[in-house]
């Protein structure tokens, strides 16, 4: 005579419960990991922005210039050493493409005016001087 080895309804319920509990544990672990990684990423990004602002390099004040410079001159270094003169070489495709037929130079109301940068004060970042461009005249 053989014993009936098939699970009883009770043992099936226990097994199903354990399986469900295991799934919940895995779900909780995944949620914790995702939340932890998100928090860590957020803190790292905030720290980087804070450092940038504290050191006086507000990206909002020089956004366009920095973007363009990065796109064109990718290996530029700006440490103030004069002993190694050449810090980067890059090709500027636009430099041969167009020229001159310049714009108006006389004072006129449409092209003149005063402004105030940002209206911010207080922090070192807000006090960063605005960018100025040097160009061939």
């Amino acid at each position: 005579m053989h014993e009936d080895l098939s699970p009883t309804p009770r043992s099936r319920r226990v097994a199903a419960g354990e399986k469900l509990a295991a799934r919940r544990r895995r779900t909780r672990a995944i949620r914790r990991r995702v939340a932890g990684m998100s928090l860590a990423t957020f803190l790292a990004a905030s720290g980087a922005v804070l450092i940038q602002l504290v050191t006086g390099h507000d990206p909002a004040l020089g956004h366009s210039t920095h973007t363009a410079a990065t796109a064109v001159a990718s290996r530029t270094a700006q440490s103030g050493s004069s002993s190694s003169p050449t810090t980067s070489v890059a090709r500027h495709e636009d430099s041969r493409s167009a020229v001159t037929s310049s714009s108006s130079s006389r004072p006129d109301s449409a092209s003149t005016g005063s402004a105030r940068s940002g209206g911010r004060s207080g922090s070192a970042a807000a006090a960063s001087p605005s960018a100025v461009t040097t160009s061939a005249s």
Partner: protein
Amino acid sequence: MSDESINRFACFGGRCAVLVSGRGPAGDADQATALVRRRMLDWHDQFTRFEDDSELSELNRDPRETVPASAIMLRLVRAAVHAARLTGGLVDPTLLGELESAGYRRSLGVLGGPTGVAIRQALRAAPARRPAMPRSDARWRDIVVDERAGTITRPPGLRIDLGGTAKGTFGDLLATVLDGHDSFAVDAAGDVRFGGHNTLARPIAVAAPAGGAVLHTFELQQGAAATSGIGRRAWSDAEGHPSHHLLDPATGRPAFTGLVQVTALATTGLEAELRAKAALLSGPARAAEWLPDGGATIDDDGVVTVFAPSAALTVPSRVKVGA
């Protein structure tokens, strides 16, 4: 530190700007920018070669050998001769006749300039590249500035072109007033002078010869940056030859040296201006010798080379101003 006051306007054949933060000898920031703007516009009228009634035009027309001049005129002519001496005659203020012969008789900014040509087209049609050389007769040595007597002596008929050295000197003169403010920058149509009490770095962007794209941005605390190039003021002369305003003193013709633009950094505006022009006229092989405080060059093929700024421009210290 208070907010930065910014005043932008057209002057010196291009776009100018004054940026000031904090109170100082020129009043609050708004008062300082307004004062500097007035001075720059007055100087433009006084020293432009494109107006017959300017002091410069009157000096160049004067038949006397020794001519009384204003204090600023003395300073500007002294700066122009100083630039010629430092560059061995490469930056020559006596090439006005040659400049007009090449077609540069009117302000390009006012009238839109002679027929514009593409840099690529100009470079294709240009003669073989070679470094510019000084004139053998060095006419600039005949110019004598006597500050005590308040006169300028030169052979009658020898006309003076103040050119970019005037813009650099204007920046230096204005810096003596604005240096007492928290921070300042004066952009005299591309010649930039900057500084101030605070030690925050200011982004100084180098614009491309055409199109205005930014090629590189320096972060500098004080000093000057000037850019010289053939990009903006280029045209075809009467014979259809490509021309621009940077002449080879030895030939009196537009110089094609292999460089289309140079930006020079220096502690003063005058130094930056003469270095930029001398570097461009010297060509790619020797340009670096003119950029001891840093800068950037662009050659005919569009290759941008950046030279790191020296400590003099990134570490706060007092800058001595003077030609």
